[in-house]
Symmetry: C2
């Protein structure tokens, strides 16, 4: 193990170069224009896996973007670890807020800045380098390892369930390791034991059948942008409590024990506000920031648009207004049920003066992994030794829908070991990977594989 | 007069060709990229004026886009009519909703379709052809005529007041004729005796200092798109009554006589809804559609945007959200005062969790011309004879800020003779000019000049 750790420390410079090449591929899964880049990225990942010593690599076609698999299965009698990650990335807009090109990685303030550096190519790459370090220094791995890398995580992994169902034997394992979450802060390792689910919808309101002159028609015809604002305003009361009927019905309330655990996770509202540049927070009354983020369901406006949005002043009464809205879910909320409740709410509250059209995007189930899982204990030891710091158990507000699919389809729990820092700006301009955490993270994954051994 | 009318009837085909050439110039005043087109359009207008027999044509530089003037002053002892119009046009977005290129005029269903066909190049052109018809057939005009054509009407005529102040002698007249409004319907001529004013603002809300992952931060941080929706929703109560303190303080309530006059203007809510494709109307309770449109102040959302508005689903909690909002004003509301009240409303109601920035765009004063004006009576006769139909007196919801400036700076009342039909789609895709109204409109303007003669 020590030789492998030493190897990791010696190869840091090469890691930056190799990872930058992977980050240069604009694998934006939501944009049809980048379809070819998904295959290009998959082929690039296969090359990296092979170079590390992974065998039986394969690019599988799906109804959507491809899935990459590979394995190393020569640790007889030892457990099999299935490593999951995704090669696709979020869109890059608003592009004007990036300081540099999103797909030309560069180092700034000890961070590698590029789209996908933290979410999730950088973390996928850490696992590949873990395998390489052990195989190059000892010739064999302490446990059996399988990889599954997908290209549709940022659009909700629509093709993965079918692939999982068809590949149960190929993917048979004892535990899944997912690195697509984050550390608590620099030097503070964390294991994420809970993820929120997601319901995401687009609301389209149509008022008049064409854009109107706001002078000639204003005041006499319902304005869909105004009606949309009125509907969104109705979703929450003054206490931030969601007013959609039935929304909280299946929410498992936080136990005293869980509130105590979440309360141990260091957090300062003052620091949080300073980091975000806001003078006040706003959320569901009666809950702390940690609880709101990790363990309470939410409703957010992800986008809103309608009418004239260009430079200058155009006096138009728009025909249409749109919003993209989403709820983050907690056990036992069901994504389809919540999407239906949201859809009903907009349909039932819209006045007769507008037409409502609702489109549903991908959803995901919320998931919680039991804290007494044996692999989780091994990982805690690996993380603790790598950073010489206690490990926090946290619940994450983000969604990784596939983790729920792993449980449902493969019957496997997932171990969420994340290495992104809170200021990694995932999904935002200037996404970045903190390099000291990246280097130590690879070391912690080396230790993990040794401690997973029976 | 009859020879001039006959000339108009003989030249219809040529008019279409000439007007199409004028419409081909994309004179979008709000877009700096079209700066050169404003001059090109002015030169083109000068050519048309000269060809019609107008003398002393001149293109005047201003701080913004140029102003065109010209005159014919050989009717000794007769009144002088100042004809105003504008050569600039609205932006063309949403461009995808145009059936054909906005600057390539074509005839469809007896309408000439192009940006500016109705608002206002087509109507400017009618006046020029009126002069041409009379001068070509009789060699002199019955009254003195001056032209003032500007290129900034669609952005609030910012340069015009200064020009008017500096050109009082040049523009000295007895009455101003403005053709930038509409007929009541095909075959139903109207004189607009009132115009609304305008206050137009852009609201910018900033929440967190960067776009955030809506999973990681959602529920704990105020979402500016949601806050913006809540603020807009607060502007009106359920009865459509504007809740901005002081908003109605200076509104002159409708007299019984005026409600009676507006009630005479034919209108069917059913037809109106059918034309707009809506199942219900919404506006200030206690007022008819005609009253809401023409004589009551309004508040409209002209545009709203924030967060992810592209294809697909991006789970972002946006840093910023924007709205363009405007109020149409009636006497004696003051545009600056109302803009201040709106600004105060957003500032005072915004929670501490967001920052508010308000930008004011151009405004305009509301105006009403006395119904007993002698030139208005002459115009009524001209319109009545041209269409063989009674003339309606209406108040228009649109704003022509310069009409207030004419009164304040030049001390002149304006006579608003408009020829656009209600379905002219001004400011919208597929703007069009109804050709039978266009042809008869020129004839009515010929008659006007004769009846203006003392």
């Amino acid at each position: 193990m020590d030789k492998a750790l030493e190897f990791v420390r010696r190869n840091r410079e090469r890691y930056i170069e190799e990872l930058s090449a992977l980050l240069a591929i604009p694998s934006i899964s939501s944009d049809p224009e980048h379809k070819d880049d998904m295959m290009k990225c998959s082929e690039h990942a296969v090359d990296l896996l092979k170079a590390a010593g992974i065998e039986n690599t394969k690019i599988h076609s799906t109804d959507g973007h491809p899935v990459v698999t590979g394995d190393w299965l020569h640790a007889a009698g030892q457990p099999t670890v299935l490593i999951y990650g995704h090669l696709d990335v979020q869109p890059i807009d608003p592009i004007e807020l990036w300081d540099t090109d999103p797909f030309t990685a560069h180092i700034k303030d000890n961070r590698l800045v590029a789209r996908g550096s933290a979410d999730d190519k950088g973390q996928v790459y850490m696992h590949i380098k873990t395998i390489e370090a052990i195989l190059k220094t000892s010739g064999s791995l302490p446990v059996n390892v399988k990889f599954i890398l997908e290209n549709e995580e940022e659009v909700g992994s629509p093709s993965l369930p079918k692939f999982l169902k068809a590949s149960k034997e190929l993917l048979k394992a004892d535990i899944i390791v997912v690195s697509d979450s984050g550390m608590l802060a620099e030097g503070k390792p964390a294991i994420t034991y809970g993820l929120k689910g997601l319901s995401y919808l687009q609301i389209e309101l149509t008022g008049p059948n064409r854009d109107l002159h706001s002078g000639t028609y204003g005041g006499a015809v319902a304005n869909p942008a105004e009606i949309l604002a009125r509907l969104i305003a109705k979703v929450k009361d003054e206490n931030g409590r969601i007013q959609i009927p039935g929304f909280y019905d299946k929410v498992i309330d936080l136990s005293d024990r869980e509130r105590e655990l979440l309360g141990k996770v260091p957090h300062s509202d003052e620091d949080y506000m300073a980091d975000l540049g806001v003078k006040a927070l706003w959320g569901e009354a009666g809950y702390s920031t940690n609880e709101r983020k990790g363990a309470r369901p939410t409703f957010e406006v992800n986008g809103i648009w309608g009418g004239f949005t260009g430079t200058g002043a155009k006096t138009v009464l728009p025909s249409k207004a749109y919003a993209k809205v989403s709820s983050r879910l907690v056990p036992d909320q069901d994504p389809s049920e919540i999407a239906q409740l949201i859809e009903n709410f907009f349909n039932e509250n819209a006045p007769d003066s507008v037409k409502v059209k609702v489109t549903r995007f991908h959803g995901g189930r919320p998931v919680v992994t039991p804290i007494d899982n044996e692999y989780m204990k091994a990982a805690e030891r690996a993380l603790q030794e790598s950073w010489d710091h206690e490990v926090y158990y946290i619940r994450e507000g983000g969604s990784i829908p596939v983790v729920a699919d792993f449980k449902t389809i493969l019957g496997l729990d997932s171990l969420l070991l994340g290495y992104a820092l809170p200021d990694a700006r995932t999904h935002s301009p200037n996404e970045n990977l903190h390099l000291p955490s990246f280097y130590l993270g690879i070391e912690s994954l080396v230790r993990c594989l040794y401690y997973f051994k029976k």
